[in-house]
Symmetry: C2
Subunit: 542 residues, 2 copies
């Protein structure tokens, strides 16, 4: 995975002295591929919680199905993801939740002669639901391109062409009144391995050779899936990446995703009709949804960060001096190589963004960097697309731009405070990914930091600020208000990482409770990244 | 061009005897690239007509600009197309029509250091209009990919990736409230040549070497442009392909396109607000628009067909026998090679579709073909996307499917009769192109015939049918009603050819007044096409 590679490379270069164990931890806190880390946080549901929520979802599915029947719309549910995640069980569950008279399940795993002899999408068109009905796709139009790309039968450009075609199909169907729910079930590498081994033991049958292939190629498959999910994660047919380790959590998440998408899709249809009160079902759903998001926000990608990590003053001084010297040189080398760097800082209020940025810029030549603080947009900025104000500040070749807050406001504060509508911030993930891909394609070294602190630590810092006359200006009523929405922000941050942390544009979540530790983690990440930009590792070392 | 190539190849194979001059005419009635033929029909406006329409458009532009100012929307006008088409004059005209305080013109032709050092789209983002204002893009995000592809600096997959990015940008802007008008100015090869030579003579300056390059590479440039236009011809930002030979027709068409797009775009915004009566301006616009479409439908791609072409009975018998024998063998060869063929028949009522199809099938083994008559959709078909019913009939490998009427009903009868909304049939061009590309990519030999007859000839045949008791069932009130909308259909057919006739999926417009001639033209086209499918010409002969 990306983070292992960084570390290994880091130990091979001489720029930064390596220290044992504890520093290794800094760079290795993520196990999985960036996009999927948010689905490796260990979410689960207790039996009692499941027993309470499941019948509610069952009832809502039936009610929504009834509304679907009269709506002239149709529902497509795509069940996909890694092997061993229990996709078959999910399909069974769906067939229990819905009235199966109007549900057709289509499995796409072997190809008939009939299918091979026609264009690839023929079999999918045949399986599309008629209005008022439901198609459950077990495997889908994603399966073959993913497998072909993972086994290098097609190259990246060909994969992209396939994905473009898929996006067009989904757009076509959505425009025609289909509601598409795309479910991706994820397991971490180690959990998948365990599962497959367990299955091999208990099963009377020999382990399928393809399964073995898949588990051997976990990394490559994750890489390809990540690209596919990112490029097809559209506002009209977004992906739901579901952590599948706990079957109860998995199934309730499926229910939540389906109910939410159906609610939204069916409501859209009635735009032209007089506004109706939300149905009783809808209010019920909000309850379940709230329970589940509360549940989800209890464990997010943020909780995988060990906030107890700290450095002594001596350790800090030592490392800081070395890293700052290294950074100073690297920034000049970037200038000479005509390469840009863009650093994005996001984080909790009082997380220490400002001081972390100052520690970085202290080490750079003042001619070579620029800090862009993002506050409320100007009139002119409001008059353009929300990305416009960020495009205008893209640095020329050779310079560093540091964004103190960024375009991620769209899916954080604008989402949580309701400034942007769901359909607006949902399509922003794709817009942001596209924007960042253009930066990276142009050769920009992009860093994205979320500075994480615990809720208690924030409280301590807020109180401290209130006491210190020199810091009172830094704490406002708004900070306290934001704090009340801590859990909503946690969910939003988790979704943000799930949708926008890719192999080329990963998020670094900084353990911020100890400021010294945080500063070193940031400095180190930037030095490593610039080092890699200037001296890329040879292809075959991968 | 495609049609030259066909003919040349045809003369090299022995399957079909060649006859001189007259038969050559059959295959050579098109000069340009398929998509652009509809912009090579010789449209023009008289001076008086122009003098009457131009001030009206000027007034409407000012009125719509006022509405734009308060709407929170913005207008992007993209001016592009072949060299020598007078794009500069169009930009001048636009600056006269609009109040230039809120209009910015951006020319993209040379690149500054500032631009080169940032991602390619940076300069475009900088040039986007603020809400309430207008940006005229002289050259645009299309220019560089087209030039690079035409000069083989990037390959097809890279071009596609660029186009995908452009589509995403345009979608992003549209979703954010921008109205995008994309104008493509076309000249036929010979007209362009004349222009450039004339310019070289009158200009004191040396002819630009790039211009010379372009005119030398006209064919390649047309091929690349066709692909680019097809892949980015979306419902939310459709292309307007404008015949630029006559400056008066060109400029009024520009005005018509802008006013129509602005009307539609500004109306959309007010969906949430109470319905308003169309403004006086709107009613005026409808008048201009009607005048112009009447004008356009006077000369369409159909009028380039020489309907006087005919064959004597002896000529017909001779050729028919040979071609039918050839077809019989070719269809068996297709079966053995496991190749499919799909034939689409569209045409005027009483154009002779049925008898032409019977002449074809008479020559085929009954096991190998299937005729699908397309009438009103079944309930099940109505319950799906309109393309669903056509996907289901895609033949297996080795077979021939003949569609008697087809998916083009969407942009013909459904458009003209108002069964589909403008935003629905406008996005259908892209859906249809995508569908047909999938067929062709799969190896299907696709033929699309429009059987054209004159309005007088139709009248003669209708009357004949009414007289003949064996034919009376073939003529209904609906046929007479359709006939009243002849001009609307003519416009729709012209647009259909402009948007869906591509190098790989060209339309063949059949000269149908003489039934014998029509049948031979169809038989010959099919034989040539199958021949090419089975024995493709080597790449380098191109």
């Amino acid at each position: 995975m990306a983070f292992h590679a960084v570390w290994l490379q880091l130990t091979q270069v001489n720029l930064i002295d390596t220290e044992p164990a504890r520093v290794i931890l800094i760079s290795l806190f993520m196990e999985g591929d960036p996009m999927f880390e948010a689905a490796e946080v260990g979410r689960s549901l207790a039996k009692e919680e499941f027993k309470q929520l499941e019948p509610e979802i069952h009832r809502l599915c039936l009610e929504l199905q009834q509304r679907l029947r009269v709506s002239g719309k149709a529902l497509v549910i795509i069940v996909s993801g890694v092997e061993g995640a229990g996709k078959g069980e999910v399909v069974d569950r769906l067939n229990r939740w819905f009235d199966t008279r109007d549900v057709q399940t289509h499995a796409f795993w072997d190809e008939t002669d009939d299918e091979r002899q026609r264009p690839r999408f023929w079999k999918f068109w045949r399986s599309l639901p008629m209005q008022g009905t439901v198609s459950v796709m077990f495997g889908s139009w994603y399966t073959k391109p993913l497998v072909d790309a993972a086994f290098d039968k097609i190259d990246e450009a060909e994969l992209d062409q396939e994905l473009k075609r898929i996006e067009e199909l989904e757009r076509t169907l959505t425009a025609d009144g289909n509601i598409i729910v795309k479910l991706w079930f994820h397991l971490s590498k180690s959990v998948q391995q365990e599962r497959l081994e367990h299955e091999a033991k208990v099963s009377k049958f020999k382990k399928s050779p393809l399964l073995e292939e898949f588990s051997k190629n976990y990394d490559r498959f994750a890489e390809v899936s990540e690209r596919a999910l990112r490029l097809t994660d559209t506002g009209f047919a977004p992906w739901h990446i579901i952590e599948a380790t706990d079957p109860r959590y998995r199934d309730i998440s499926v229910g939540d995703a389906i109910v939410a998408r159906m609610e939204a899709g069916l409501a859209e249809e009635s735009k032209s009709r007089p506004q109706e009160e939300p149905s009783a079902g809808f209010r019920d759903f909000q309850k379940i949804h709230d329970v589940l998001s509360a549940k989800s926000s209890q464990i997010t990608v943020l909780d995988t960060v060990d906030l107890t990590q700290s450095l002594t003053a001596v350790e800090y001084e030592n490392r800081n001096n070395k890293l700052q010297r290294g950074l100073h040189d690297l920034v000049w080398q970037m200038y000479n190589a005509k390469r840009n760097a863009v650093l994005v800082f996001e984080g909790w209020d009082a997380g220490g963004k400002g001081s972390a940025i100052r520690r970085l810029t202290a080490a750079m030549d003042a001619r070579l960097y620029r800090v862009i603080p993002i506050a409320a947009p100007t009139d002119e900025e409001k008059g353009h697309h929300y990305l416009w104000r960020f495009w205008r500040h893209i640095p020329r070749a050779g310079y560093v731009t540091i964004y103190d807050r960024s375009w991620y406001g769209r899916v954080l504060v604008e989402r949580v405070e309701g400034y942007a509508q769901p359909h607006e911030w949902m399509r922003s993930y794709q817009e942001i990914n596209d924007f960042e891909e253009q930066l990276v394609d142009h050769g920009v070294a992009l860093f994205k930091f979320w500075i994480h602190i615990s809720k208690d630590e924030q409280y301590r810092r807020f109180k401290e600020r209130e006491k210190d006359p020199r810091k009172q200006h830094k704490i406002t009523d708004e900070d306290w208000r934001n704090r009340e929405r801590w859990d909503n922000y946690k969910s939003a941050i988790n979704d943000m990482v799930a949708h926008t942390s890719t192999a080329h544009t990963p998020w670094t979540i900084v353990a911020g409770n100890d400021k010294k530790f945080a500063r070193i983690q940031i400095l180190e990440t930037v030095c490593n990244g610039l080092q890699r930009t200037l001296f890329p590792e040879p292809k075959n070392s991968k």
